[in-house]
């Protein structure tokens, strides 16, 4: 791993003394056409945010921040952070979600003042990206909006009184499989058909070959889909149980042959009445 923030002496001491170490992954993902300037600003904000959260948790507990993954195709960077114990690791993960939630412009109870700058920096980066940016931990995906989506946010803040930035449900996503990374466990990025944004997908070892076969193809991925609570945009898929080719053939005109195929079903009933009967049971 390549250290990007070194507390080398402590790292060495803990490793050699055999104390338990906890590693957690945190990801930053950009969308749209990413310029070098934008990427540089985002990485700077990302580094500052992780450093500020480390300071809040206690630098002595954070043994190192490393680049685990850097994918240019989807402008995605995953950082592994090594902690000396479980408690500060959990503390960090909780603060990470708080910073992301705050960066979305939402109120966060007991938000540490020392992390306000981190939230501001991420929000500033998101404001220059039409698709917003996504930050993610193992347990949360947080979409930080670009300017212009706040109206939607206001609507749902009243509609749903929950504090989580994302919601989960099992389902299927259609899209094109485009980025593959296999440094530690295969990860893929699916560009979904509805939003045309990158969705991170974590695969099991048994699914690696299937994913490689389907690279750059239209697929259907079934699993636990985590969506942004406000926009409903899919952000990640885990617990994937199936990856299959999307058999839809948009070039075919076979759909035309279905014209009038139900002409003799309730022939004298207008379509709206037929549908009403279905909906009425």
């Amino acid at each position: 791993m390549m250290p990007c923030d070194i507390i080398g002496r402590q790292w060495f001491q803990v490793v050699t003394s055999g104390s338990p170490m906890i590693t957690k992954s945190f990801t930053l993902q950009l969308d749209g056409m990413v310029t070098l300037d934008h990427f540089a600003a985002a990485i700077d904000a990302w580094r500052s945010a992780l450093t500020d959260i480390s300071n809040e948790v206690g630098r002595e507990h954070v043994l190192g921040i490393y680049i685990e993954e850097l994918t240019s195709g989807s402008a995605l960077v995953t950082s592994n952070i090594v902690f000396d114990a479980e408690e500060p690791a959990e503390h960090f993960a909780n603060d990470f979600v708080k910073v992301g939630t705050r960066a979305r412009g939402e109120n966060v109870i007991d938000f540490p003042k020392s992390l306000q700058d981190a939230a501001n920096r991420l929000r500033k980066v998101a404001a220059t990206d039409p698709g917003g940016i996504t930050i993610a931990s193992d347990t949360a995906d947080i979409l930080i909006f670009a300017t212009g989506e706040q109206r939607v946010e206001h609507f749902d803040m009243h509609a749903r009184r929950v504090s989580t930035p994302s919601v989960e449900a099992y389902g299927a996503l259609r899209g094109k499989l485009q980025s593959l990374s296999s440094r530690t466990g295969l990860k893929v990025v699916l560009y979904d058909d509805t939003f045309d944004k990158g969705v991170r997908c974590s695969l099991t070892e048994e699914q690696h070959e299937t994913a490689r076969e389907h690279w750059d193809k239209h697929v259907v991925i079934e699993g636990l889909i985590r969506r942004d609570r406000i926009t409903g945009r899919p952000l990640s898929v885990s617990q994937i149980w199936n990856i299959g080719r999307d058999e839809r053939d948009s070039a075919s005109q076979a759909w035309l042959k279905a014209f009038g195929v139900l002409a003799d079903v309730e022939p004298d009933v207008p379509v709206e009445e037929s549908i009403r009967r279905v909906r009425s049971g």
């Binding site: 749903r160 919601v167 948009s250 042959k257 379509v271």
Partner: protein, 164 residues
Amino acid sequence: MAKRVYLDSSVILAFLKGEAGRGEHVKAALFTASTPGSDLQFVTSVLSLIEITYIENLPGSLEDGFSRIDDFWGTAPIQLIEVNEVAVIRGRAMMRERLRSGQQPELPSARKRAADLVHLSTAIWLKVDEFWTYDSLDFSKYPQQDVTVREPYGEQMLMPGVDL
């Protein structure tokens, strides 16, 4: 800029039934959307597929009807959208707003409302430009201003000389 239009299942059924005065309009619009480079995009909820499935099993279906309908869903320029929590929560807010505004008595029966809301809230969630239905009377009763509810219309009709 692409125009995204939600199709209520009544519109899809008009095509499958070839209903006089309607089916050809829908066919022409679908044909336009299937043209490479078209900026017209159709979407619908998987609920439409369920509702059509119910109707295709009624007496009168053609012998090869199922395979032709399968081909329709597999190739038609209509993107299927799953029912999801975020979209449905919008529908719930819409329903509550209606209750608060005292307009409840005008609503259709409770069973009808559930399916209507899935369609309408999915359309609003996707920020579609228009919501096409042949049941605009019922759909227009819901309190929302985010989407235009209307019947399919002829703007996308075929160019002269194109034979369907």
